[in-house]
Amino acid sequence: MSQDSVWEQILDYSSRADPFPLYAELRRTPVVRAQDGSYVVSTFQEIVALLGDPRLSSDPHNLPGYDAEAPAQASGEGPPGLPPSVIFIDPPEHDRIRRLLTRNFGPPHRPGRIDGMIPDLLEIVTSLIDDFAGKDRSGTRRVDIVDDFAYPFPVTVICRLLGVPREDEPRFHAWSEALIEAGDPTTGEFAERQRRRSTANADIGQYFARLLDARGEPGDDLLSGLVSGDGPEAPMPLKEVLANAALLLVAGHETTVNLIANGMLTLLRHPEVLDRLRRGDEPDLAVRVVEELLRYEPPVQFLENRFTLDDIEVAGTIIPRGSRVNLVLAAGSRDPADVPDPDRFDPDREHNEHLGFGGGIHYCFGAPLARPEAQIALTELARRLENPRLVADPPRYRPNPVLRGPRHLLVEFDGISPTRPASKRPTTLG
């Protein structure tokens, strides 16, 4: 079978449950050209190098003939166009937007914001697990870890952070799905999908515009901070606020769900680790488990938005200027040339330098939030679910090869342990 077809096999839904053997095959040729003309890079060193390579742009306008925004503008109807979000632009604009976002999110201006949310995270997780007791589907004690837990949890968190009413979730759910689908390379050609992405983004943006209109005084939430913001570069122009709020909402939605669901699945497949987590006598274990999950079962399998500004030589292959490059993070994090025993799930490994959150200037903005979310979620699931069992292995997966995760994760259990008394509950993790 020719090398080129490995990538297409990976994209095919049939390999969703276990793409890793195909990634191993892909890595044999660090750079391959895909059928759609884009390039695919799959080895650790090469991906790390490209994530920090200034000759790669994240702005699709560097593709020859790219016209993602054209139809929306031409038709003159539909939602007003929004500028691209931080993930699709380059410095210096990227850095300016990212600084403005960070100003309302973390150090140096809001250093304690995420740390201060940790009690909240635990409270949300606790109440979701409390509710499992009432979820007696089909008579047995059974939950869907995705729909009953891994999805609602990060959604609630991102809503609180942004200052979005939780009850609006059904409204933006459809847009979010549309955005995610636009990021699925099996649903169409890149530029066409970018057009769908712009449209969905604009829909969410319009929702945010109305939300901001309807609100009186700005609150302490991130959105208010962006709009009213202080600092030399503030406030962020409204259209930029809308575009990036949409990104945050969706990124906050559709990634952590997979980390938690992949995490629970992996733990159930490695009962010895689940047991250790349940015993709770290794205070750092959850931290290491989550890092290892980001390496071993990463929620974002690859990045498809890198564009060469010049001819670039990668591992002996010239990628010509104006090409689109896919960086297969999930394959890189399991590259045996750089990671010892990469196909083993081993939370005890030292020096875990994975690619789960990308790298370089676009390194995941939400990582400082996603990490404690997953740490707390998995710790509490491990502690409180009595004798949890997978109903189906492998579970059914979502179609998307980029944001890869189970569509449902049915788990049976014997009971729910009570939460720890408030006095014994950690203020952080533990």
């Binding site: 500004l309 390194y363 990490r371 950690p426 993790l429």
Partner: protein, 545 residues
């Protein structure tokens, strides 16, 4: 607990500062300052911080994140001495040899750890003249001066693991190469089979001894120095004078401004940091300093310092005839290599340091390489193929670590298994909320060009070239790009860079580098390989200018 961040490796992702905001703080865009001895109550958060660091740059007391190659070369437990079957002399030495390390600081500690990690089970003695266990110096001119950490709380983590005989507070006073022992100030001798010299530097004192004794005069190298300086700064002096605008001087000035103290910096050169970065980028640093309220005076020297009747510093006379009323002065005049104890040893030791080959083996006075004496860290001076085989003496944290690892590896390896120390020089400096990072040798240049970003915003990458190839890159608040340029230096890529990049300045024209002494004509080599075990130089005949 103890924390140390490898800031050569850190790229300012700030993940640590999110996770443990009371321990790790970010200044400006990406300058990290941290508390090296945080309260144990912070432990959980610190562990989360270390785990979250995307480049794994944070080392803790019991959690090994130190050293780039730590797990990539898996630990090999010493094999049991099974049969008396022929063991090679190298293997026998590894099991039962005697190694002595002189200098109990960064390089000495890192060498000791590497020796043990790589299976050296013989006897290890570490001799240090300071009374303290190994500690970290970079925080002394940064976190400590602004009060984020205490001068005596920058101990380096994980000393206990080395299982060594520590002789602290006793200087080595001599070396007998023929008898293979080190002489100590207390009259004892310590025998060795192999020796590592890691005695580093000390601060160059103010040359006028009487003036240097004035109350209010400081240098910055040790905790004692810095504890005194910190006290003097918190006492609310009217004005602080910093003599010398190298990295130490600039960092002290930055701390003064952070403490809202009036500060004058005097340097005889055309701009700050000229010795390290050349006058062009030095000029950018000058603007940055002035923008932060520093009274910077270049092209001027301090002619004399005057005290009052009680021996307290009161005034400085400058070479341009002006005077300054000052209560505190910091002599940041560079350094003196700690080589006096090697006098008469027959080694090539002098003001230049201790000469050694790229495999860290010391040269004798005749320039012949020795076999059992190794050198690492600030005291070493070794040839670098990338820089025309010139002997480089580097005063950088990252070099001390990398060179110590190579030296340690070579000390317990057969000739054919030895590695060259080919790491490119790298350093960082944190000042005025800006992270300055450098790779390569910026003074080995004839031209410099702003390759990315904006000088006005002080967010840029400057690329240095010599005779048509890239030799160095310096980033102000743009650390995430530097590894890319590091690879270009390794490959002897052509200068000026002609490729298109993001954030390309409108005018990408090289200007004369204005470095102190231009290099001499040289060889061009290409370095390949990522890990120390793989890095090798190849001579190439590129047709550059």
């Amino acid at each position: 607990m103890k924390v140390v961040v490898d800031l050569t490796r850190c790229q300012g992702y700030a993940q640590c500062a999110f996770a443990a905001p009371d321990v790790f703080t970010i200044q400006g865009d990406e300058a990290l300052l941290y508390d090296p001895a945080p309260d144990d109550a912070q432990r959980e958060k610190i562990v989360r911080a270390a785990a979250a660091c995307p480049v794994q740059a944070i080392a803790l007391e019991r959690y090994d994140r130190f050293g780039r190659e730590e797990v990539r070369r898996p630990h090999q437990p010493p094999e049991a001495v099974a049969h008396a079957a022929a063991v090679s002399p190298e293997e026998a030495f590894k099991r039962n040899g005697r190694i002595v390390i002189v200098g109990a600081s960064l390089a000495g500690l890192q060498a000791g750890r590497t020796l043990r990690r790589d299976g050296f089970t013989g006897s290890l003695t570490v001799i240090g003249d300071e009374p303290y266990p190994p500690y970290d110096r970079p925080p002394l001119s940064k976190q400590v001066l602004i009060g984020q950490a205490s001068a005596r709380a920058t101990a380096l983590p994980r000393r206990d693991e080395i299982d060594a005989h520590w002789r602290l507070g006793v200087p080595a006073t001599g070396l007998d190469l023929r008898g293979k022992h080190v002489l100590l100030a207390d009259g004892q001798t310590v025998g060795f089979d192999r020796l590592l010299i890691a005695t580093g530097l000390r601060a160059r004192p103010w040359p006028n001894e009487a003036e240097a004794r004035l109350d209010g005069m400081f240098t910055v190298r040790t905790p004692d120095d810095v504890e005194g300086l910190r006290q003097a700064l918190t006492a609310g002096p009217g004005r602080v004078l910093v003599i010398g605008a190298g990295f130490t001087g600039c960092e002290v000035a930055s701390a003064c401004r952070e403490l809202d103290l009036a500060v004058t910096v005097v340097d005889r050169g055309p701009a700050p940091l000229t010795g390290a970065l050349g006058a062009v980028i030095g000029g950018v640093a000058a603007e940055m300093m002035r923008g932060h309220g520093v009274d910077l005076r270049c092209g001027v020297q301090v002619a004399a310092l005057e005290g009052d009747g009680d021996g307290r510093l009161r005034r400085a006379r400058l070479s341009d005839g002006s005077t300054l009323d000052v209560d505190v002065a910091v002599a940041a005049l560079g350094s003196i290599r700690n080589v006096e104890w090697l006098e008469g040893s027959g080694l090539a030791a002098g003001v230049w340091g201790v000469g050694c080959d790229a495999g860290c083996r010391a040269f004798d006075l005749n320039g012949v390489v020795t076999d059992d004496v190794f050198v690492a860290g600030d005291v070493a001076r070794s040839p670098h193929p990338v820089y025309g085989y010139q002997f480089l003496a580097l005063e950088h944290w990252g070099n001390a670590v990398a060179q110590a690892e190579i030296a340690a590896h070579n000390m317990i390896s057969a000739q054919s298994e030895r590695w060259p120390h080919l790491a490119l020089p790298e350093f960082w400096s944190t000042q005025f909320g800006t992270e300055i990072k450098s790779v390569g040798v910026p003074t080995y240049a004839d031209h410099v060009v702003i390759a990315q970003g904006s000088v006005v915003e002080r967010r840029f990458v400057a690329v240095y070239g010599y005779r048509g190839r890239i030799t160095a890159a310096v980033a102000f608040n743009q650390a995430k790009w530097l590894e890319f340029y590091e690879r270009l230096i390794d490959r002897a890529a052509p200068f000026p860079p002609s490729f298109r990049t993001v954030d390309e300045p409108a005018d990408r024209r090289p200007v004369a580098a204005e470095v102190p002494d231009g290099p001499t004509p040289q060889a061009t080599v290409v370095v390949t390989g990522h890990r120390p075990s793989e890095r090798r130089a190849t001579l190439v005949r590129k047709t550059y200018l």
